[in-house]
Amino acid sequence: MTGIVIVGAGLGGLRTAESARAAGYQGPITIVGEESHLPYNRPPLSKEALSTGVAVDDLHFRRKPSVDDVTWHLGAPAIGSDLVARTVTLADGTVLSFQALVAATGIRPRRLPIDGPQAGCIVLRTADDALQLRERLIPGAQVVILGAGFIGCEVAATAIKLGCTVHVVAIDTEPMIRPLGAELGSAMRVRHEHHGVHFHLGRFVTGFVGDEQITRVTVDDGTELAADVVVEAVGSVANVEWLAGNGLDLSDGLLVDDAMAVIDAPCPMFAVGDIARHPNAWFPGPARRIEHWNMPTETGKRAGQSLAAVLSGAPMDTAAFAAMPSFWSDQYSHKLQSFGMPGLADHITVVAGSPDGPCIAEYRRDGQLVGVVGIDMTAELAPYRKQLMGQQ
């Protein structure tokens, strides 16, 4: 047995290892990663690193000295697992056995089945993706972005900054409508349009045209857009295939309890980060996956404590898990910041400023505050965050 095996060498994997050490676990830890890089910070990949040049070395997380003795097995993904035999199989043929397993494999971009050539269509999740995209964002390049979520909008802003022509095609009626709602979404659209972005909203792409390389994109209203590069940013899929065949529910990441222990797992097993569908005492309703940067740290901390307990034979802390989802986004000179789960709201009110300038909006569900979003008003959000933590 080789102690703890963590599959996924991203932020969640790293924080889980650090937390297990901080909680007193001294045994072996192996971290398996599909990418050849040590854990690095992804958000800059659509923002500053995409505009100034992608250097993974500058994006690596600082690792605490307590994890200096971790064995990193990088560049080979896990392709299978047997949770009863307690083994994980990697693509390079390695079979690792474990006492306790952590799933920290995150998500990958969803791909749409679109007819035509695929060369020139890029997704953005990894540093290697960002490098590929950066090479194509040259002044004058015609960029077509599929999807108007945060990543699509951030790439649009960066591409404009780099002198590209940008078209965004999305089925939604406003950019970032699910997290922001229509009013703030529309306010952000106006800012993008002011910088020259062309939106095709309520629309979908019907095909890619070109010989080997995509040169044009066709839209369902008959529009044809010239394209030097297409960026597909239309949602995500959880990386759970390596867990197939173990009888777990893999329909939407991995369902965990308050201790981050995977429900129905036949061995000590935990999930963290984007992949973990977890309860949250501060927000009503079912367990949810939250694809925000601060959640791997929150869930990883708890999972590490649970691991240290389980492996020393102590009971796990089963207190309710509570964490404040927090998100930020940089677009042009604008800073968006959100706390809570604005996407749950049935009623949105602008409570400070106005959407065409700096503003704050409250997001309520059944009268209860469930989220807050600020545009260019960061410091003023603190009291709302406090309110979100205090009321439930």
């Binding site: 600082r62 601060n294 930020w328 800073k335």
Partner: protein, 61 residues
């Protein structure tokens, strides 16, 4: 313990302020102000602040 924030990296999001409000603060202009020399007993919270900084701008020595 010595705390340094790389002000070229810092985007003034104030995430650190929630973890260690006595060390990190956004001023009236929304700019980060912080204490550079911090008592050792505050290490856990200051390290949490460094962990949650989206720009990874905080170095704790």
């Amino acid at each position: 313990m010595k705390v340094t924030v790389d002000m070229d990296k810092c985007q003034h999001y104030g995430q650190c302020c929630f973890e260690a409000p006595d060390v990190f603060e956004l001023d009236a202009d929304g700019k980060l102000q912080y204490v550079a020399d911090v008592a050792e007993e505050r290490r856990a919270d200051v390290e949490s602040a460094a962990d949650v900084c989206p720009m990874q701008a905080i170095v704790v020595e």
